[in-house]
Amino acid sequence: MRVLRYVSKRLLFLGPVLFGVVTVVFIVARMLPGDPVHLLAPRDADAQTLAVIRTELGLDKPILAQFARYLTDIGRGEFGRAIHTGNPVLVDIANRFPATLELTILGLSLCILVSIPLGVLAAVRRNGPLDHVSRLTSLLGVSMPSFWLALLLIYTFFFHLDLAPPPLGRGPIGFDPPRVTGMYTIDTLLAGDLAGFATVVHYLLLPVISLALINMAPLTRLTRASMIEVLGSDYVRYALAAGVPRRVVQFRLALKNALLAPITMIGILVGNLLGGAVIIETIFAWPGLGLWAVTAATQSDYAPVQAFALFAATTKVLVYLLTDLAYFAIDPRIRY
């Protein structure tokens, strides 16, 4: 019951947070250089045509009036139209979100599956060879910008070794599995198309690995640090002195207590994923939300930029809420 009350209290905060996001994004979008009118107008349009389009878009009104109209539109579930695709924003999001979701889920899963065991083993065999390897890769991962890492992967595995497909989206041109979920891995499997599935995985490889590598460093280091702290605590010493076998102490007792901090970190990483995907999607021409938002931003296409920010903010707030609820399940010390 207390959990429910806690959740509803947290959800109440969602309103003010989102209003803040909407306001800031509205202002920032209008500070972007460029004029959306030119997107719609023909190249040689005269001043009068431009003025007509401007009136149609409502951009001739005072900024406060535009903001008020924007808010009432959102209230009615009307997010406007993306000028650069010509579709309503919600249609674009629905079309493109599965591509982003597939990429980020796989990227983060790979990241977690590698970093947590790596961090744990590095802590258990402290200063052993694996610890040094993980320290070195983490250092590289932290100090390398994601776009540079992605470009290096493309250069090595596509250009030189020819092991990966070109960084041109989710599949070869014309590749379009029957749409059910919009996530190609699932859709090809549902259609029983194993060759298609292989193609999808092939195209996913580099972007997923890039995304995983970028997020691996902090998670590995944190898992290691957290694990070392727990392994050095007196209750671990006690368990050893009481005769609990060392492996049980390390991999069951200590690990459970050490996972709290990494779970927080995973929450933060998930919250940041949409933002991180922007860069990876741009480099791999991945037709997801990130690429869509970037294109919109570079063309001063207000509606999609605003909708994307709102979408990302909502996801983030909800993910943080889920993370907090996860603590509740894991740590008996936490009571709301």
Partner: protein
């Protein structure tokens, strides 16, 4: 036969120095003592003198490099873990910081039940009865059973630590500064609890502390450690009334006296503790000793008999005729 006989215990650690060089830190340099059944031996000395390393070797959290640890007729110093496991029941440890020594995810009942499950085959009913019995033994209420450590006061946490250690009916309890994390009023209560348990269970303690007034109160015998070696050992009243090692004298002089008008006459130490990496060649205490002579720098000082059951490692204070 003594319950615990420690002979020539040595332990070194590898440490990295600034230049990345590995150096050897000599934490324990031949520690020997015995503890009789029912007795309480105090182990005192300043931070870094090897008290806790000794404790961890005794319960075999650390494996000593050399020496023997006889529990009855079993030498556990080099025993491999599987052979050691059934013996672990016989000696248990209580840690300094109760909040760090209890797993935050286990309730009181789970914490006490853990050693029970490891060492005894008990049904659920028997187990619960035993947990209740142990809680009562350390002065906790039955309602504390389902609490988590963070819901207990620090004094209660330490009582759980004691109950957990007692759960497998050990013969010897190593108490590693069990009261130094507690404030004074709670300290008194835990000391009283330990005394009561000693009286009712006949249990043997090795009591590690740097609080000399507590040691004087609870211990039958005291061993004074310096640089990983025992420099003086003997009955508590002898150590406190007529210490035979200059370091013991200085240690006793450092005990605060709650009387501002009293003038101190005992020596206060100058100088630094010698490094455990570069052990002194002669007397370990040479660098800080107020009564040293040149010969001390080159003459190692073994323990010499200074009276009945009283030994000290100083050839100036313990004359040759008394040497064994």
């Amino acid at each position: 036969m003594s319950l615990l006989r420690v002979e020539g215990l040595r332990k070194t650690f590898k440490v990295k120095e600034g230049g990345g060089r590995d150096r050897t830190l000599f934490a324990l340099n031949g520690v020997s003592f015995t503890v009789e059944a029912g007795e309480t031996l105090g182990l005192v000395g300043e931070s870094g003198c090897g008290k806790s390393t000794t404790a961890r070797c005794l319960v075999r959290l650390l494996r000593p490099d050399a020496g023997h640890i006889w529990i009855g007729d079993q030498d556990i110093a080099a025993l491999p873990e599987p052979a050691l496991r059934p013996l672990r029941r016989r000696l248990q440890m209580v840690f300094q910081d109760p909040s760090d020594s209890l797993n935050p995810r286990l309730t009181v009942a789970d914490a006490i039940g853990e050693p029970l499950a490891l060492h005894f085959q008990l049904g659920p009913g028997e187990r619960l009865a035993r947990i209740r019995e142990l809680l009562a033994l350390v002065g906790l209420k039955d309602e504390h059973r389902d609490r988590y450590p963070h819901q207990l006061s620090i004094g209660q946490q330490q009582r759980v630590g004691v109950a957990r250690a007692l759960a497998c009916e050990p013969e010897l309890l190593i108490l590693d500064e069990p009261t130094s994390a507690l404030d004074v009023s709670v300290r008194g209560m835990v000391i009283r609890l330990l005394e009561e348990l000693r009286a009712s269970l006949g249990i043997t303690y090795v009591f590690i502390s740097h609080d000399l007034s507590v040691v004087r109160h609870i211990c039958h015998r005291v061993a004074v450690m310096y640089l990983g070696a025992i420099v003086e050992i003997g009955p508590t009243d002898r150590i406190f009334s007529s210490p035979s090692h200059p370091y013991t004298e200085a240690l006793l002089a450092a005990v605060p006296v709650p009387d501002p008008r009293q003038r101190r006459t005992r020596p206060i130490l100058a100088g630094e503790v010698s490094s455990l990496v570069d052990l002194p060649k002669g007397c370990f205490f040479f660098a800080r000793c107020p009564v040293r002579i040149d010969a001390c720098a080159t003459t190692p000082q073994p323990l010499r008999e200074a009276g009945a059951g009283h030994e000290a490692a100083c050839f100036l204070r313990v004359p040759e005729r008394a040497a064994v």
